[in-house]
Amino acid sequence: MPTAIQCRDLRKTYDGKVEAVRGLSLEIQAGECFGLLGPNGAGKTTTIEILEGLLAPTSGEVTILGRTWQKDSRELREWLGISLQETRLSEKLSVRETIELFASFYSQPRSSDEVLKELQLEEKADAWVGKLSGGQRQRLAVATALVGNPKVLFLDEPTTGLDPQSRRQLWDIVRAFQRNGGTVLLTTHYMDEAERLCDRLAIIDHGQVIAEGTPLDLIERLGGHHVVEFEASGESGDGAALEHWQALPGVESVRHDDGLVCLNVREPHLTIPALLEAVQKRGSQLQHLTTRQASLEDVFVRLTGRHLREA
């Protein structure tokens, strides 16, 4: 499959001080939905805006659909659909007028009616942008990106701040675009979004890729399959205790998280009986025990020691 987006060793230093992106390389295939997952300030927006040709990198190379921004910017602009992290579209234009305006910039745009329908904005077609809800505004932002009939869609935090229903609507729109052969690059700090929507993703922290792969692969490799969390009376959280839990059968890694001990385990049915026995032997009592599937959140915590939200 041909490469849609490629960048090598991207760096961006703002004002000679803030190193927002520090040597980042990506390769995204045509037809893929690729996610950049990372906490606020990780450098996602900086990275995506460099790829979009809106920001010059301090160093590094970018190739989109085999073209570069230096030589083929006009052509690339026709091929890309972009939604920025925050754009406040003109409040006193109607939804249809806004879509028509953006359509007028492209040499072969799609019909506004089709896009309105596809984004479920038909009812609001004649309403002013200022009267839209958050979810409708976000759909309109994506509509302005889709109306140019792009080959590649860039979405920077498309669902931040939206209610669950609006988020799912947007996911459906992204999937439909992808099904029609489009390539998607999106950023998010929601792990569930990355997990459900993206074929592959790169986890970004402090301007670097700290892990890359399919969501499942990342979880299996780095999150452990299952997570067992418990709290036992009289247990101090020191290193010696952690080593003790690490020695239980089937445990891949151990960490402390907010007063709980978290075990990444491959086979809970082997670990849990052994855990119960060990707790009893040490003369303490279980106060809390849960098991759950590992998630990308666990991957991130494992890699950085921080949660995505609080990072």
Partner: protein
């Protein structure tokens, strides 16, 4: 039902069917139309661009309307006030003098606040005392007028016979001076705000960045903004001229196309300046300050409300180099004196230089993000 199910699904890998094909100017046309719609839907804009200048013209036109200049308001005080009134009643000029009888305190208060031009007191021996202010032209006039009336009523004969001709032709009144100045000021205000404010607002909203993320031609964007100024300028100029002609019977001697061409040069010149002030600002507050700073000297020096000839001769060259001075002078010359476009080439050159140099610098420094 999900969105995905409603979509026509194409074969994987083929782009969606393009439904239309846009011409070269589609972007420009839509940008211009959007700009006009947005302005039309903004009540404040309508007021500042159209309502405010009209109110200003109306207010100033009435306040400074040429009242019959020879009506003097005077206050008469003292025990023999009635005899003064009696003398004035018999004067041939009684129509031009309006006299009130008051006590001294009220009369002096009225005089201080400008209600009376003159206070007269009889000294009881057939003589009069005038209280007047030599720094107030109407007070000086009033004294001469009343003195003349009293002396004539008392029997003085004129030594010379004179005839006066009344001249209050449209064209030489304050309102005639004012309207072209207001047009100039309005063209400046509207262009500076309409360009400077609009651009920084769009930059702050990240809309400029969103636009340059599309294939939009940046020159189309600037051209559309400039065009919207020209359309508005035509309406503004037409409105103020029409207002002057209808309400104040102002006579427009120059040709309308010439006046509009001068207005257009002004609008474009100030649009260039507006673009320059907006070329880098990220915040509305900073560009607002900058725009006011640029316009302030012109409000004062460029002869909007009064003639700049009153300023010292040394600063006259500086005043004449200001774009608003050039615009106001050119407008007055055409509107009031019927001057041709060719006769205004020097002033148009001043406007073109300001606009052109600002534009080049603005484009050089401009930040889209």
């Amino acid at each position: 039902m999900s969105v995905a199910q409603q979509m026509p699904v194409n074969e994987r890998g083929t782009p969606l069917r393009a439904v239309r094909r846009n011409g070269r100017w589609a972007g420009y046309r839509h940008l211009l139309a959007s700009r006009m719609k947005e302005m039309k839907r903004e009540p404040e804009v309508i007021f500042w661009v159209f309502g405010f200048p009209l109110l200003l013209a109306l207010g100033l036109g009435i306040a400074f309307r040429n009242k019959p200049a020879d009506v003097s308001s005077i206050a008469v005080v003292g025990s023999e006030a009635q005899s003064v009134i009696g003398l004035l009643e018999h004067s041939p000029r009684k129509a031009s003098i309006k006299a009130d009888v008051l006590d001294e305190a009220a009369a002096l208060k009225g005089f201080r606040v400008g209600k009376y031009d003159l206070v007269i007191e009889s000294d009881g021996k057939g003589g009069f005392k005038y209280v007047y202010d030599p720094a107030r032209p109407e007070s000086v006039l009033s004294r001469a007028e009343v003195d003349h009336a009293l002396q004539a009523a008392a029997g003085r004969q004129d030594a010379l016979s004179t005839v006066t001709v009344v001249s209050s032709e449209p064209g030489s009144r304050y309102i005639d001076f004012l309207i072209p100045g207001l047009i100039g000021m309005n063209v400046m205000n509207a262009a500076m705000w309409g360009i400077g404010f609009a651009i920084v607002d769009m930059r702050q909203r990240k809309l400029l960045k969103r636009f340059v993320a599309t294939p939009m031609r940046r020159s189309d964007f600037l051209l559309a903004l400039a065009s919207s100024r020209l359309v508005l300028m035509t309406v503004e100029v037409g409105m103020l001229l029409g207002f002057g002609a209808l309400v104040f019977k102002m006579q427009i001697l120059g040709s309308i196309p010439t006046i509009l061409l001068i207005g257009a040069s002004g609008a474009l010149g100030f649009a260039g300046l507006g673009l320059l002030t907006a070329s880098r600002s990220q915040k509305i507050e900073s560009v607002s300050g900058l725009i006011n700073l640029v316009m302030m000297p012109m409000w004062i020096f460029s002869g909007v409300f009064f003639s700049y000839e009153r300023f010292p001769a040394v600063i006259q060259p500086f005043i004449k180099a200001l774009p608003l001075t050039a615009l106001n002078d050119a407008l007055r010359a055409t509107i009031l004196e019927g001057a041709t476009l060719g006769a205004q080439s020097g002033r148009l050159l001043v406007l073109a230089l300001w606009g052109g140099i600002s534009f080049v610098l603005a484009v050089k420094w401009f930040r889209w993000t």
